[in-house]
């Protein structure tokens, strides 16, 4: 455990808060106990629309993670010079710039993936998980904590996208690893495994909701099975919103 020291901040609105959180606690919270995807249910639009295959889930997940880490870092660095009444527009500006940057980078280096994810890359800007982390965490914590928090929440979101993408692709289309070449280049074009002819419903929007519902049920069943551990990790988290 890290030694607790007060945060030096002259930002009145935020000064009331918080000792820096322990890095492992922050990480666990982002991946599991306060996961943006299946605990907070943030970012439902990309989560349900993109996860028709595992590859798209991974792609959008990592793009979101990148934005989240950078935006958390920038928000944390600038937290002492941001006027509190201007903080939301500032976050929006920072996040929008980052998303534009990543959109352009993907367009340049992962063109196939960019073509498929298309609209959902610019839409990362509206993913409430990102601004929620900026407001609830990064604006009140040192840079290291903010970066870890961004990484953990990003990976947690990616995890949900991957699980949804995996099951929806496997059961809905009856394939696995389709379209991986848009992520890993032409070597991956032979990775596609075709299992059966598919159960179309799961590819369609109602199937996305069904799959998410099942995932939430499974997650709740898991945490109900070990109540002591999940309670401990919740009480270790200093930030709640």
């Amino acid at each position: 455990m890290h030694t607790e020291r007060p945060v030096d901040t002259d930002n009145d609105a935020l000064a009331a808060v918080v000792n820096p959180a322990s890095l492992t606690g922050v990480f666990k919270e982002g991946i599991w106990s306060n996961n943006a995807g299946f605990v907070q249910l943030l970012g439902l639009c990309p989560m349900l629309a993109v996860t028709t295959t595992l590859a798209y889930g991974i792609g959008l997940g990592f793009a979101t993670t990148l934005v989240l880490v950078l935006s958390n870092g920038l928000v944390s660095v600038t937290r002492n010079i941001t006027a509190s009444y201007l903080r939301i527009p500032t976050y929006v500006l920072l996040i929008a710039s980052l998303v534009t940057l990543i959109d352009i980078l993907l367009h340049a280096y992962l063109f196939e993936l960019h073509r498929v994810l298309g609209l959902f890359i610019p839409l990362i800007v509206t993913n409430c998980a990102i601004i929620a982390r900026a407001e609830a965490f990064a604006s009140r914590q040192p840079v290291a904590q903010a970066l870890v928090d961004g990484l953990a929440h990003g990976l947690g979101f990616t995890l949900v996208l991957m699980i949804l993408g995996f099951f929806r692709e496997l059961m809905g289309a009856g394939t696995l690893f389709a379209g991986m070449d848009s992520l890993f280049g032409p070597i991956a074009s032979t990775w596609t495994v075709s299992v059966h002819s598919g159960f179309l419903l799961l590819i369609l929007p109602p199937g996305a909701f069904l799959a998410l519902g099942m995932l939430l049920a499974a997650r709740n069943a898991l945490s109900a099975r070990k109540p002591r551990r999940s309670e401990a990790s919740v009480s270790a988290s200093p930030t709640t919103n």
């Binding site: 598919g198 159960f199 179309l200 419903l201 369609l204 069904l210």
Partner: protein, 345 residues
Amino acid sequence: MKFIQSSAPHIRKPRSVRAIMFEVCLALIPAALIHVYFLGPGLVLNVCVAVSVALACEYLMLRLRGQSIAPFIGDGSAVLAALLIAFALPPLTPWWVTATAAAFAMIVAKHLYGGLGFNTFNPAMAGYAVVLVSFPAELALWTAPVGAQIDPGSLSLLQSIQVTLTGSLPEAYTWDQITQATPLDSVQIGLSQGAMLSELFYDQGLTTYGAQPWIAINLAILAGGVWLLGRKLISWHIPAGVLFGVAISALAGRILDSDAYSPLFFHIFSGSVIMGAFFIASDPVSAATSRRGKLIYALGIGILIYSIRAWGSYPDGVAFAVLFMNMLVPLIDHFTIPRAYGHAR
């Protein structure tokens, strides 16, 4: 004794869920016999698969939910839902399609919503809609009825079982040989290709009531439905509303353009309007509650069935119409609360 706030007689014999479900199943028997006569033993196989899967899923879900098993599994609601699914699917449907429909109906549409009495959606139609969306190719294969223009190389019972289990035909047969588009399907396809309605009916040998086997099956279902009405198991509001909804839309279509919209009785006696009106929409759990509400609910179903048939991409629309109106039931109920005696409107 139970007192009900309406005019006399006030004393009614309480019916158990089990007795009601049993009588509704009984009312389907004549239709089943005619179905088997015209379309082969496929229906019986569908029933076997659907009933056993539905009961297994019901048992599983009751166990998981910690409910008492014997009274709920014995109430017959799972069997009735399975029968409705079996009727909705074509004969010779591969077993995994039927099983998926029955499992979805029981697990998701019924028990995840809280079990019998709490399900928002009609379980049988939810299960059917899932497989209709997921397995469009399998669900388009209706066996050609006896007496059809093309000669169906009729399958024996053993061969039918084989097809149901494997999903593929014995070597001497092809699907083109033993299946035929239903009247609704062929008319919809013909119209979409720009044919005139009168030519289509002539070419297909259809009367204004449709094709003979389907009329016979629908008449048998109608007989069962009328028996249910006579036994006061269902109220007249829902069947009347559905039939009226289909009828006024069909008449409006005829007046608008009699070369593009099929005749009224063709709509009623082809496909599953009668089944929907008497056996599916009348499910008391997922239908509206008050009499006025029931009429609105049923009218909506009728108009939607016609709209899906006339302008949709599916040849029949009973399942989607029922599910859609199921969704509106809370709204309908909210606006049709009956006036309590002595209170202002």
